[in-house]
């Protein structure tokens, strides 16, 4: 069952920012699948449309709603912005449109305060890179942080239960890599640092 009550007649919108190869699109899809498993009738996930290159900034989006989703245009005012690579914060486009009272969730070893980002939204940081390095979640020399960040989203949005995320991960990955990803999600969930701004 959905754990978050929807007060507005619009989907909850999450925009992902990462670099090509970091798995922003996969994470966007995993979250939508988990939400659907969690009982939301509406769940969509899409990449930023067009060409993508390894290392170049990319974005992806997830929409979640108790009702089927009829919006297909791009997200203008996200409830959550997730940043997989902290260096992307230098581009102000990353937080554009983020709703007042929404969440900026950053993969960073710093605290939310140390990021120095001004805005009428809450900030959370999770050291997904550190957690995944420690767990050995490394593919072709790249630390894979995308699934770990789902733990942080689950924590701040209170939208999707960890159990649903776990189930999607178990369906998607083989045993060994599923265990690593699950461990990363759970550790990130527990260690996410939250700064609520009134």
């Amino acid at each position: 069952m959905p754990v978050r009550w929807f007060s507005e007649a619009r989907p909850y919108e999450i925009r992902w920012h990462g670099r090509g190869g970091q798995g922003a699109v996969t994470a966007a899809k995993t979250l939508a699948q988990a939400a659907h498993l969690n009982g939301y009738r509406g769940a969509t996930a899409s990449p930023s449309f067009g060409a993508e290159r390894r290392g170049a900034p990319v974005s992806a989006s997830t929409r979640i709603s108790p009702e089927p989703i009829l919006v297909v245009s791009q997200i203008e005012a996200p409830d959550v912005v997730v940043v997989l690579d902290q260096t992307l914060l230098r581009d102000s486009d990353v937080i554009s449109g983020l709703r007042n009272g929404g969440w900026l969730v950053v993969n960073s070893a710093q605290t939310p305060g140390q990021l120095g980002i001004e805005g009428e939204f809450n900030v959370a940081t999770a050291d997904a890179t550190g957690i995944c390095r420690e767990l050995g979640l490394i593919v072709s020399g790249l630390i894979v942080v995308n699934t770990a960040m789902l733990g942080a989203i689950a924590r701040v949005s209170e939208l999707v239960e960890l159990a649903s995320i776990d189930e999607v991960i178990r369906n998607r990955f083989s045993n060994r890599s599923a265990e690593l990803n699950l461990a990363a999600v759970e550790k990130t969930y527990r260690t996410t640092v939250i700064e609520r701004r009134p």
Partner: protein, 396 residues
């Protein structure tokens, strides 16, 4: 949760296609990848024919269809343009080939993103054209397309918006193979080329009817064309019948060639095709909150054009706003022209206004659709609506 391309591939697999020939092009490529995997893993008993171009892909489907196989291909944009000649050959031969067109803009200049100029440019090739509003409809329409094509002896193009649907995952109910088998029996070809009983096909055909070598009076070219047009007109009934049968079996409604949202009491109607029409329902929500009685018509079938249904649904409206994701240069959006023609002579006194939107992947938001409707309404009420030309939602 599947994206539109996977929905199309699954639709073809569930329809037990026997020959697949396709050439990869963005954003259709994942359709070809999925189908070749199904064949490779033995999940689909079909021949996957690698070809060097889209023209050849459709030539392979055409030939395979002529020897009695159920065939499938998929393409986009320049790929569909390259098929143009073969589109005519397949329709002229009355072959029930099904093609998924993943709608993409056409160059120049280069663009890989969505609009509907590619399939709209193939309007007059004799293919049935259907436009899916979401991924569920993509899957359902591909399955229905075989039933329609094989009953009407006409090829069917199932069109869906590139990226917006092709690369977006959403929940889709996938029917069981058993259920699809009950709905769609194996293909019984109307003609089979067979070396055991040799015959010619598609001979040079003169303008007038002529007696053949066996002494039989055969149609001239014009009679054959008449029969194609007649089949296209009659296919409206076939499409509706197949849709009803599908609705009964699978519980999803396809009873008309168009779908209506809140049209019962609507004074103002928005008309669009594909995912844009779905987005328009969100615009209608906003306009209704402002006290305007707005409904939406999604054109699911563009050829044959369901003129009578359109006139019936729009006749009571005082304003119809048509959004097109393509342009017939020198005139207006092609669906708007059809809407006006459908209303002509129906006795309706309805203002019709056309907007061109979303070309080359330009994002179209529900808010923009709602604003366009409001702006048009104020022009109508001020008596200042210019119906002569389409308005473009762009920076010029």
């Amino acid at each position: 949760m599947i994206d539109g391309n996977r929905a199309a591939a699954l639709g073809a697999k569930l329809s037990r296609v026997q020959v697949v020939a396709a050439y990869p092009i963005t954003p259709q490529t994942p359709v070809t990848e999925a189908l070749s995997e199904f064949v490779e893993r033995g999940e689909l008993q079909a021949q996957y024919v690698n070809v060097e171009s889209e023209h050849s892909a459709l030539a392979v489907c055409s030939s395979a269809s002529l020897v009695g196989a159920r065939t499938f291909t998929a393409t986009s944009s320049h790929g569909l343009a390259y098929m143009h000649e073969m589109l005519h050959w397949v329709a002229g031969t009355r072959l029930p080939v099904v093609l998924a067109c993943v709608n993409r803009a056409i160059g120049a200049p280069w663009n890989v993103l969505n609009d509907q100029q590619d399939s709209m440019s193939q309007r007059d090739t004799g293919w049935i054209q259907m436009y899916a509003r979401n991924n569920q409809e993509i899957l359902d329409l591909v399955i229905q397309a075989y039933s329609i094509a094989e009953k009407a002896c006409l090829p069917v193009m199932v069109c869906y918006d590139g990226y917006v649907l092709s690369h977006t995952e959403m929940p889709v109910g996938v029917p069981s193979q058993d259920a699809v088998d009950r709905f769609l029996p194996p293909y019984k070809p109307h003609t089979i080329l067979d070396p055991g009983s040799p015959r010619n096909y598609n001979l040079v055909t003169l303008a007038n009817p002529r007696v053949n070598a066996e002494g039989v009076l055969c149609h001239g070219y014009m009679e054959i064309r008449y029969l194609l047009q007649e089949a296209m007109e009659k296919s409206k009934e076939t499409i509706a019948d197949v849709g009803r049968e599908f609705s009964d079996l699978f519980g999803r409604s396809y009873v008309k060639l168009l779908w209506e949202d809140r049209m019962q009491d609507a004074e103002i109607a928005i008309v669009a095709m594909g995912s844009l029409a779905m987005e328009a329902t969100v615009a209608a929500d906003a306009l209704r909150r402002d006290g305007l009685r707005v409904g939406v018509i999604g054109l699911r079938v563009f050829r044959p054009f369901p003129g009578r249904d359109v006139a019936g649904a729009l006749g009571r409206c005082r304003l119809v706003v048509v959004f097109d994701k393509s342009i017939s240069y020198g005139n207006e959006g092609a669906t708007c022209t059809e809407i006006k023609a459908a209303l002509y002579g129906s006795g309706a006194n309805t203002a019709v206004h056309n907007f061109i939107v979303g070309l080359g992947g330009r994002d179209v938001k529900a808010r923009e659709l709602a604003d366009a409707v409001k702006k048009t309404l104020s022009l109508v009420e001020g008596g200042a609506l210019n119906n002569e030309s389409a308005e473009w939602i762009c920076e010029i």
